[in-house]
Each structure stands twice: as C-alpha cells, then as structure tokens.
C-alpha cells in the first residue's frame, strides 16, 4: 500500500507538538537577566579622518578654530552655551537662599588655589578658549573657542597662559589629528586639577591614562574612554560635580547602564535604598597616586622651610597627601549648598565650601563616598568672610609673599570689600567619589561598615547605632520610603 506524505506528516507534527509543548512549557526556566550594561552603551561612531582636510599654515589657534567652524557651523554657537566655555552654569535656585545663582569657576572660590578672579591668565590655561586674561573676556565670540584642547588626538597640543597654544605647537598636525576626545584630552585638565597630577579629585589622576582593571574597572578592564559615560549633546558634556555646580541636571549615574537591583543577594539589593553604588564599589581612591587632603595656606611664605611639593611649598603652605585614601561618608541627594563670595565664615569651626545636601530623612539621599579636602585659607577677620587673594597675577602672593597686598588686589578683582584685617579660617570641600570604580571582587563587604571600627560613623549619619543591630527606623520614617513594621529588622 502506498503512503503519501499527506498521510503521515500531520501525524508526526501532532506527536511532536503533543510531546514538545508540555516538555517545553514545564521545563522552561525563566532566566532573569540581572544586569545587561552593554546594551546601554552606545557604539562609538567612526570618526571622519581629517588628515586631508587641512593644508593651511596655521599661525594661531584662532585660525584653526575658523577652519573648524567653516564646516561645523553650529559648533561655535553650541560651545558658547557650555560650562566648559562659560565656566559658569545656568542660573538656578539654591534651597535656603533668595534668587537665582549662576555658579561656576568664574565667580566662586574653593579651598585649593581659591579663585580665578585676578588670577585669570594662570587658571585659564585650562579654559576651552583663547585669551581669557581679565574680566573683559568676550564670552559671545566664537572665534576664541579652542577646539583642539578637546579634539586634538596628536597628543602634542599644549596650552599656556590665558589658554593660548604654547610656542612651538604644530597646529597643523594637531588639526589633522582631530577626533572624538580621548582620555588625554579630558585628563590634561581634569587629572591635573588643583595645579598638578592627582591633587584635587582623589578619583581622577594620570594613572587613568592607562589604568589596570584594579585601578578602574571600566577604563582598565573594559577600555572605556571618558566620553563613553560623559556623553555629549550639542557640545554639552554629561556629568556634574558639586565642586562647581549646585544642581544635578545632566548628571550621569551608574544606573544609566546598570540595573539598580542587580545583585543576586537580596540583602545587598536592599542597600541600594540607602547607599550610592559608589559607596561599596569605590573602597578607596588615589589608588596609585596620593591626593591632597589638607592644605594650610597660613604657613606659606616661610623661606626657611624645606620645600617638597607633597608637604610644603613656600608659595602655598603645608599639605597632607594621602594614597589609597578611604573616602568619608555623607548623605547626599545630588544637590549641594555653595559658599558664595561674601557668605559668613564659621570662625568657631569649619566652613563648608559645598556641603552636600540630604540627610537620613531624605528619600532621595544616599550615603556617598567623599574625599573631603580640609584647608585653612584667608578670611577677613573684621567682616568675617573668606577672601580671595591674587596669587599668580601681577603683585600676587606668589611673587610678593605679602598677604595684605594680595588680598587687596583680590578685593579689587572680586569687588568684595576687604577691611585690611585677615586671618585663616578652616574650610572643607566635598568631592563625591565616582571614578576609580574597583572590580566587583574588591567591593566593600559587610564587615567594612558593620563591624567594630567600621567605616561609618552611624550616629553622625543620623542612625541610632549600627543599623544591623539598631534597625534603621530613622531612615524608614523618612517620607516616601516604604514603611515597614517597627521591629521588623530584629526578626
């Protein structure tokens, strides 16, 4: 008897279906993907090779800029609105103050080299422009934009006073090399903040040019560039720091790529209500190179003292540097207060320059790791506010070693009156630590905070004691945080 396909094929299909479907249904396990960070990583676009696009003999940086803007017509206008150009953010409200404030390097002070006003030429060596040497610099003129400082990929471009290219820089070679900003472009300024490698940030230094995975897991193990995270739209580069900003618009977060609750351990996931990722994943900073943690300006000017850039310099005073720095921990909701020129100084204790906002009751706040830079810097003992000296400029302290004159010049530059009486006040500056993320096997373990002598000062943070034993009722009473039954922690 002949069989046709039509006869047995449906039967076979039916059998397979009847067996396969239940087997598939009852044995399929749902794979929960906890974290898929690569899916959130944009592909790096291939950059157009500019090698053959330039042939001019560039004499000045501005000529290169003109050539760039010849094709990139919108770029000039875009850069004019960026913080890298204006050194000042858009005006925003600061909680607890009246009015709007546009803060930035341009008009605020810190507790390192203090302020740029009167010191423009020296400070603006890191400005993305050419010729900012006094208060009259024109921020609306695209011709003075410095494209190369971010886009030079030849590695030979260097800037000097007022941001002008140094003598001997081959501008044509630099122009031909332009591409997406490399680690060197960003690091040239940001790794050397505070006047030298590793001084300022704690989590940013020149070890990040070619880090191992132990120093920074993203840059070392996975070869990230700065701009992989600090993504740019219309030349506005993502990321914010409370050293200059007071708001958190256009901020970058770990959770841009990582799932917020990616740990297989429930207990650890529960910590994400309270801790920033950085708190556990950045157990220490200044991993390879010591960073400055203390700066005492009051000891400056002593010619008899031995000089050493990590302990004492006559022009700057005395320092403490620390390597493998353990961060300090504070609540932080992404916003910060800001010491503005003229604000009263706390003569009884320390004056915070940029106190992070948030406390245990704030549902948006997390405990963050900070490098806290502590300094003694000049203030007006009569008027009781911090003063901004001229240091590098003409007649500045670094030449004359005369505080009174330096402070008078500073007062002229800032317009803030100086009584003629000065002293040195303690200040603190907060640096949220977010780079130098360690590989996961180096992340903090429970004992780091919850054992005796742990890292956290629980009571200072607002807890009744170590929440492992005391519970975290004070956190749970915060509005907006899921309330659980009292005592549930003790079960």
């Amino acid at each position: 008897m002949k069989m046709s396909k039509r006869q047995w094929l449906p039967g076979l299909v039916a059998i397979l279906f009847l067996l396969g479907l239940p087997v598939w249904y009852f044995t399929s396990v749902e794979e929960t993907v906890l974290d898929a960070p690569w899916e959130n990583m944009p592909k790096r676009a291939a950059h157009v090779d500019h090698k053959d696009l330039f042939n001019g003999d560039f004499k000045t940086g501005q000529q290169v800029t003109a050539a760039c803007l010849g094709c990139h017509k919108e770029a000039g206008e875009q850069v004019l609105h960026t913080a890298h150009w204006r050194w000042q953010a858009d005006p925003v409200e600061i909680e607890g103050r009246e009015g709007l404030f546009a803060t930035g390097k341009k008009n605020t002070i810190n507790n390192f080299c203090i302020g740029i006003q009167g010191n423009w030429a020296a400070c603006t060596a890191c400005h993305t422009g050419y010729g900012w040497q006094d208060e009259k610099f024109d921020f609306e003129n695209t011709a003075n934009i410095d494209c190369l400082v971010c886009h030079d990929n030849s590695g030979t471009y260097r800037k000097g006073a007022a941001g002008l290219p140094l003598e001997g820089v081959d501008l044509l070679a630099a122009a031909k090399s332009v591409a997406v900003p490399s680690r060197e472009n960003c690091g040239g300024c940001h790794f050397r903040g505070g006047g030298g490698n590793a001084v300022k940030h704690g989590d940013l230094d020149e070890s990040l040019y070619y880090p191992t995975g132990e120093v920074d897991v993203h840059m070392g193990r996975y070869d990230f560039k700065c701009v992989d995270c600090h993504q740019t739209k219309d030349h506005v580069i993502g990321g914010r720091s409370i050293s200059v900003s007071v708001d958190n618009k256009n901020q970058i977060a770990c959770t841009d790529c990582h799932n917020a609750r990616l740990h297989t351990d429930q207990r650890i996931n529960a910590h994400t209500d309270t801790l920033a990722c950085q708190t556990c994943h950045i157990p220490e900073v200044a991993v390879r190179q010591a960073t400055k943690t203390h700066w005492d300006w009051s000891t400056a000017g002593d010619a008899g003292k031995e000089e050493d850039q990590h302990h004492y310099l006559k022009i700057k005073g005395s320092f403490i540097y620390q390597k493998n720095l353990r961060p300090e921990y504070r609540w932080y909701n992404g916003l910060a207060d800001r010491y503005l020129l003229g604000d009263p100084v706390n003569t009884g204790g320390s004056t915070p320059m940029n106190a992070p906002k948030g406390d245990i009751r704030d549902p948006d706040a997390r405990i963050w790791p900070f490098k806290i830079h502590r300094a003694k810097q000049p203030y007006d003992t009569e008027l009781e506010y911090l003063l901004q000296p001229v240091t590098s400029g003409k007649g500045g302290y670094w030449k004359e070693f005369d505080w009174d004159s330096a402070l008078r010049l500073g007062a002229d530059a800032t317009g803030l009156p100086y009584s003629g009486e000065y002293g040195f006040a303690a200040t603190e500056m907060f640096w949220p630590q977010t780079h130098m993320v360690a590989p996961k096997e180096r992340a903090l373990q429970c004992q780091a905070c919850h054992a005796e002598n742990g890292r956290m000062d629980w009571r200072a943070l607002g807890y009744d004691g170590d929440p492992i034993k005391q519970g975290s009722q004070s956190r749970k009473r915060a509005p907006g945080i899921e309330h659980r039954a009292e005592g549930a922690d003790h079960e």
């Binding site: 008897m1 006869q7 996961k440 780091a448």
Partner: protein
C-alpha cells in the same frame, strides 16, 4: 599658639578622639574602670600581689562563683570524668580534662591519689584552658582572656613554666603595667589611679570578640585589610587542624593563601563571618535574655515563646558561662548543653529559597544544610598523625589534606578538600548526612593493660642528645645523609619498624604494638551562600558520588596496621577502611546501613544485570528468528495470495499509539540518563529529570484517554481473550511463529477491524496494561511525589523499593519494544505492520470461512 600649631594640635586631638571612639566601640563605654584587686581584695598596686580575677570582677558586680560553677570552659569536662565508656580505655573522661585523643596525644597519668596530676595537666593543657574548675586551686578562671584584648602569650608561657601564681597577671606586662625588677614582678604605680584602677584606656572590658575565641579554637581573621595567612604556632590552629575551617569574612581571592585558581573564588571563607555574625551570636550564654530559649523538654505544649525575661542587671550579675553549642565529637563533654545551639533552620527558612531543588523535602530530610553549603575547606586540615615515629623536631609525622608541602609555608599550594559526608545524629535524634573530616592516627601501645607510649618515653627512646639514636640512623637513613627526613621516617617496612621497636624495648616497654584509629570531626563553619553551594545533582547522584568516593586517610600505614573506627557519639562512621597496593589508606563511605538510599549511587546492580540479560535474550531470539525467516524464504517459491484492503486503525488509535510509542522511547532514553548519569555528562541531570517527569505525565494522560476511548467505543472488548477455543487459537498462533512462518503458510487467525489482536497479543497486553504500566506509573508518580507526599512512598518501601521496581519494569518495557517491533515485520511484507499503523489501512489476506482460521496479522504481540 599660632594658627599652624593650632592646626596640628586639632589634628592630633581629632586622631586621639577617633582612637578613643574605636576603643569605646569594643568596650561599649559601659564597663566602669575597676580597681585591680588581689586575693585579699586589696588593690594589687598597694599589695604588690598577683591579680585575682575572682575578687576584681566579683564582689559587688559579677557573681564570679556562679560564673565558674556554670562554666563548661572552666570545668572542661572534669565533672564528667568516668572510667568506663570512654573512647579509649586509658581516658579518664570525655572532656578536655582527663580526655585523651591521638591528636593532642599527651597522656597525663594518674597521681598517687589516682586523680590527674593537676600541675602536669596545667603545664601541658593550661594554654587552652581558662583556669578555674578542676585547677581553681592553682589558677583562677581568667576573665581577661575572653573579655579584653590583652595579648595572652605571657600567660601561656607562664603556665608552661609552672608559674601559676602570676599567670593571669602577666599579660599586663605587655601593657607596661607590670615589669620585672630583680626577678620580682612589680606593678607600676604610675599606671594606676588612686582607687587602684588602671589609667583610662589601658584596660578595655567587653563582650568576647571572635579573636578571643580564636586564641584556643582555631584560625580567625576578621580584618578585611590583613590578608589571611596560616600561623606557624600549631596551638593557634586548633580547630583548623582538625577540620580545615578558617573563620574569616575575607574573600578567598583576597586572602594571603596560595589557593589554586583563587582569582575566580570571589566569595568569603565564611559567609556568617562576612555578614558580621560573630562566634557569640550563635554560641551565646544560655541565660542571655536576648537569646534565651526554653528547652523543648520543659516547654508546655501551648507555649511557643515565654516572654518573661531576666533583666539586664540580673544577667550581668549572673551571666551563665555555659554557651550554646552543637555536638562535637571531641567536645568538652558538656553534655547538658549539647545541641543547645540554634541550628541553621533556627535562623534560615530554607524552604523558601530551595524551590529550584528537586525533591526539596527529600533532600531536607536526609541532608544537613552543611553538606551542600560547606563544599570545600581551605585551611590545613589534618589527614593523618603518625606517633610511631617522631621527626627531628620531636613532632609526630603529620599529613595534611590537599596541601602540597608545609601547611604553614606561604608558597604551599592549597587545593582545598571536600569533606566526607557521614550520618550525623542531630538535635531531633534523626540522622542527617553532614560533612566531616577524618583524621587517621597511629601510635605505639605497650604494657598490660595496653596504654600509649608517652611522648617522653618516645623522645627518650628515639633521641640521644637531640639527635636520632645511631641504631635508627643505621636502619632508616636510606640515602646515607645522616639525617632522617620525609619518607625515611615512615615505619612502613619491617626494618624500620623493628629498629624503633628495639629502641622502645630498651626503655623497658613490653607488648609493643602499633595501633591505628580514625577520628571524625564534624564541620559546621566555613558556610558559603547559595551561589557557591553544591548545586550539581551529579555531585552525589552518580557512581562518582561524594557519598561513596574514597576519602584519603594516609599515604602509608605504619607497621602495615589498618586503622580501626572508634565510636564517638553523634556520628555513624558507616563505611569501610581499606588500603591500596601502595599502602595508602582510605575510607569508603557507605551510608546504606544508616538508612540512606541515594539515587544513582546505591542502585542494585543485579536489577540492571537481570534487565540487560532479558533484553539481550529477546534481542538474540528475534535475531535468530529473523535470520531463519530470511533463509527459509529464499529456499522456497514465493507464495501468491489475494489481499483486500481493510481499515484497521482509526485516526485516534493511530495518534494514541504513536504518541505512546514516542513517549515510551523518550522515557526509556531519559530514564537511562537519570539511571546512569555518569555516562551522559553532556546532559543537565536536573533538566533531564524534569523532562522525564513531564513525559511520564503525558504517557499517563494519554493512557487514561485511550482507556476512556476504548471503554466508550467498546473497543476494549478486543483486549479480552475469548475463553472459547482460546488454547487452540493460542497454539495455532504459536505454531505459526515457530513453524508456519518459515514454510510461508498463511497467518492462522483472521485479522479484522473487530479482531485486531491475536490471543498471544491479548495476553501480552493484559500483562502490560494491567501490571507493568500501572506499576511503572505508580512508582514513577510516587518517586516524583516524594517531595510532596514522602509518607506514602515511605510506606511502600521508600526509594530503594520504588526505584528498583521502576528500573526493572523499564527493562521489561525495553524488552517488549524489541519484541513488538520485530513482530510488526511478520505481516505479508516486513513493513506492512508499521505502514498500517501509520495509514490505518492494511492489506489483509482474503480468506474463506473454512475451519482453518487464516488471515494475516499486521501486528502481533
């Protein structure tokens, strides 16, 4: 003060403040500064006498007499001394005091009064004893040992020297409070306040930290910043030596140990230590009001919790110094507190996180949590201690598990070892399989009654002025380098054995014999969390099961003496000790005697042998039959018959048949994988089990539907043999298969839509459908349901019986399929049977209704 000075002063103050805070963290800032008193309650700084802890801590505050009285650590088993019922005849008890074990070895003989020589005992054992209890007259219980951070080394050496009077005071010398002047100890008045207490911050009193426990109990490293290493002092490795346990929150990859493949070991040695669970969180004082639990025995049935508590003040006055404990084979003989510890399940709800685990309840009923959650030990755990010979440092010959070389050396490669899994008696009185280390030991027995040769006797016999006796060198120094090293020291040959025996005989020792034994040590620390726990079924279920794999005991056997098992409470050493051709000794666990049956390990070999024989016999039978048919068909003229097409099998019948056939074939295949997983490493065991279960239910549902169909349609009648002429027709069919088929005769019985089955088929299907299939389905469902209704399965003989039936019936099904498929070829053409079952139509031999019943069978049996 200028601002610069101010700055640095404030910095120093800040550091000092921080330091003070950290001290407070340990001492809680609660314990007052107390005058250090002597035995007369006079401040030591005034009297110049040694410290009395009983007076200093006692008096108005703590009831020290109560504390000592209740302390197992002070008593050390002295109140449980007994002459009978000990593991060894020469023991005087089961506790630390009077106990003897072949690891510690020292034998403190009775003094004139028949009791233990207290001074000798204290010199030898005092370093690991808190004082008080049996030796209270010599050394008081030392509160500071557990409640302060003072370095204890000075106390240990004082006890070894026999300086009992000052032993508890001497740790103060490390603080500079006590100094030696002209051979006299002198308290420095400058360090004391007028009331006789120490300057602030010198003495911090607080609850015991893990490091306090570590002084006697084994390696603890709670710091995350100091990489864990192995201390050279063997006394500091006590429990680590016995079990390989290392208590540390450090991740293995961050430790200082040379662990093989450590870069991938991103988890802590002990998850409890990692989670800040300290020793005293589980081993708490039994009247600590925070932890106090009424013992089950005295708890009224209607009360699960008694809320009446001691006040903190009551507790601080009389804190019971009996601590919750599990059950250890060589404990303090503190039998009152055995198993008073909370167990894993007191804190953990295993039920809620083990849904992934097949047969969850079955596993919980058989396994202690530790069996899967302590997969490997990385500390230097002993494998064997050989006291039949000493090395040049007068130490016994020790072998460590899975450490290459000296366990203390930083470059010794550590592989880690899997503990042996043995039945442990748990608090509920049931056996659970739990991890153990086994340590083999050998030593000389002498005299009558036999006793171990003491360490002193051994040293005297083996050494002359610190060197090996020349006779020993002559006999043992095989490479002639005038030293005895490594394997040269082993008494694994007659020459060496006799040389040592002769030396011992010169000491006047008689009846010398080598004795070997095996000591089990339970392992309950070094727990890992679920990610690192054993999750692979094959770990236990297969021929290479850890439950049946030999556990190494020693590379050699001194005197060729096989070690014997010693009975210890709480563990069943179920298994066999044996040795291989190289003389290496090992222990092969076999937990069947304790009532454990492990799928994939304990299968009955005869069942497979029988099944395979049946299968092969049938295979051989049909093969011979087939060849005979083939040969006979070639030797005779082809028979021409007339056929008519008959619709034999309707659509549902065919679907049912093929579904069942596929399910059975797949069940046999997946069942084979489950039965012999070691041959099918490419399959995920647990996945295959799931598939097998699903297929089983498909088969069951398909069978039930088919039964309904046959009942509803009346087709079921075809399956019932017609008694009328049954024998004759059966014979006819049998004759056809055995003779007619070779002669090309027609089929004896007519096959029609209403009579599809011949009598032999009817009998076969009666057996299959009424015995084999139900047996397979019932045993299968029960095995699947073990985790749901374990009771039912237990009543039917449990897994050993169910699994055996399931296996045997599976063989029967496999055999049936061979026969079944072969007989489908006995139609008018070899493929006709199968074709008819696919298409439904068959060409049936035309027949006249004569006496000779005819017509083909497409399908038979």
């Amino acid at each position: 003060m200028n601002s610069r000075q101010k700055y640095f002063v404030s910095l120093i103050l800040a550091i000092a403040g921080w330091a003070a805070l950290t001290q407070m963290a340990f001492a809680n800032g609660m314990h007052p500064d107390i005058p250090l008193l002597d035995k007369n309650r006079v401040p030591v700084v005034t009297s110049g006498l040694p410290l009395s802890t009983m007076q200093t801590c006692g008096g108005d505050c703590h009831d020290t007499a109560y504390i000592v009285r209740g302390s197992d650590h002070a008593d050390a088993g002295a109140s449980h001394q007994q002459q009978e019922g000990n593991a060894h005849r020469w023991q005087q008890g089961a506790g630390y005091f009077g106990e003897w074990d072949p690891l510690a070895y020292d034998f403190i003989g009775p003094d004139e009064s028949g009791g233990i020589d207290l001074a000798a005992w204290l010199k030898r054992y005092g370093a690991r004893h808190v004082g008080g209890g049996p030796v209270a007259e010599l050394v008081e219980m030392d509160c500071l040992l557990c409640h302060t951070r003072i370095d204890n080394a000075a106390r240990e050496s004082a006890l070894e020297r026999g300086d009992f009077e000052w032993a508890n005071s001497l740790p103060f010398s490390t603080l500079g409070v006590l100094t030696a002047e002209q051979g006299q100890w002198h308290w420095n008045a400058a360090d004391f306040l007028p009331d006789g207490s120490l300057r602030k911050g010198l003495l911090e009193v607080g609850k015991p930290r893990d490091e306090n426990c570590a002084q006697c109990h084994g390696i603890v490293e709670n710091s995350l910043d100091d990489p864990l290493t192995i201390p050279a002092d063997i006394r500091k490795r006590h429990n680590t030596e016995r079990t390989g346990q290392l208590i540390s929150p450090q991740k293995l990859l961050n430790s200082g140990l040379n662990i093989s493949g450590k870069e991938s070991l991103n988890y802590p040695f002990d998850v409890h230590s990692d989670r800040v669970v300290g020793c005293v969180n589980c081993h708490y004082s039994l009247n600590n009001p925070v932890f106090f639990r009424q013992r089950e025995a005295s708890r009224p049935a209607h009360l699960s919790f008694d809320p009446r508590r001691m006040s903190s003040a009551d507790y601080l006055e009389r804190p019971l110094h009996q601590f919750a404990k599990g059950q250890s084979t060589l404990g303090l003989a503190a039998t009152d507190t055995e198993n008073s510890l909370r167990r894993c399940e007191s804190c953990h709800d295993a039920n809620s996180v083990h849904d992934w685990l097949p047969y969850k309840q079955g596993h919980f009923a058989s396994l202690a949590c530790e069996s899967c959650h302590i997969p490997k030990l990385f500390g230097p755990g002993l494998q064997a201690v050989d006291w039949t010979m000493l090395d040049s440092n007068a130490q016994p010959l020790r072998q460590y598990r899975n450490v290459e070389g000296d366990p203390v050396a930083a470059d010794s490669l550590i592989e880690g070892f899997q503990p042996v899994i043995l039945p442990r008696v748990d608090a509920d009185g049931h056996f659970h399989l739990a991890p153990f280390n086994l340590v083999a030991s050998w030593y000389w027995l002498a005299g009558d009654p036999a006793r171990p040769v003491s360490r002193q006797q051994l040293e005297a016999a083996l050494f002359v002025d610190g060197d090996f006796h020349p006779d020993l060198l002559a006999a043992l120094d095989s490479n002639g380098d005038k030293q005895l090293l490594g394997a040269e020291l082993r008494l694994d040959n007659e020459t060496a054995l006799n040389a040592v025996r002769k030396r011992l005989q010169t000491m006047g020792l008689v009846d010398l014999q080598v004795h070997g034994e095996v000591t089990p040590f339970s392992i309950s620390h070094n727990v890992v969390n679920g990610q690192q726990a054993i999750r692979k079924c094959i770990h236990c279920h297969g021929s290479d099961s850890v439950l049946g794999r030999p556990f190494a005991l020693s590379e050699y056997q001194p005197g060729n003496v096989q070690p014997v098992k010693i009975e210890y409470p709480g563990v069943a050493l179920s298994g066999d000790i044996g040795s291989d051709l190289n003389g290496a000794a090992g222990f092969t666990p076999d937990n069947r005697a304790a009532g454990f049956y492990v799928i994939g390990l304990h299968g009955r070999k005869w069942a497979d042998t029988l099944g395979l024989l049946m299968f092969l016999a049938v295979l051989a039978g049909v093969s011979i039959h087939a060849v005979a048919r083939f040969v006979s068909a070639r030797n005779r003229a082809p028979v021409v018959r007339e056929y008519e097409r008959v619709y034999l099998y309707d659509t549902y019948e065919r679907l049912w048949h093929w579904l069942q056939a596929s399910a059975i074939l797949l069940l046999l295949f997946t069942g084979l994988i489950i039965h012999k997983p070691q041959f099918f490493g490419m399959f995920s065991f647990s996945y295959i089990v799931s598939v097998h279960n699903v297929l089983g239910f498909i088969l069951l549902i398909n069978a039930a539907l088919a039964l309904f169909y046959n009942l509803a349609s009346g087709e079921i009648r075809q399956y019932f043999p017609d008694p009328d002429g049954f024998i004759a027709r059966s014979m006819a069919q049998a004759m056809y298969y055995s003779q007619g088929i070779f002669a090309g005769k027609p089929h004896p019985l007519e096959k029609t839509r209403a009579h599809k089955l011949n009598p032999l088929q009817q009998v076969t299907y009666l057996v299959i459908l009424n015995i084999l299939l139900p047996a397979q389905v019932v045993t299968g469902v029960l095995i699947w349901g073990l985790q749901k209704w374990p009771g039912v399965a237990e009543q039917l003989g449990g897994l050993p019986t169910l699994a055996l039936i399931h296996t045997l019936v599976a063989w029967a099904f496999a055999t049936f399929i061979v026969m079944h498929v072969y007989l489908t070829t006995t139609g008018h053409t070899p493929s006709a049977g199968i074709r008819s079952m696919i298409a439904g139509w068959d060409d049936v031999e035309k027949h006249d209704n004569s006496d000779e019943p005819n017509r083909p069978q497409g399908e038979t049996k």
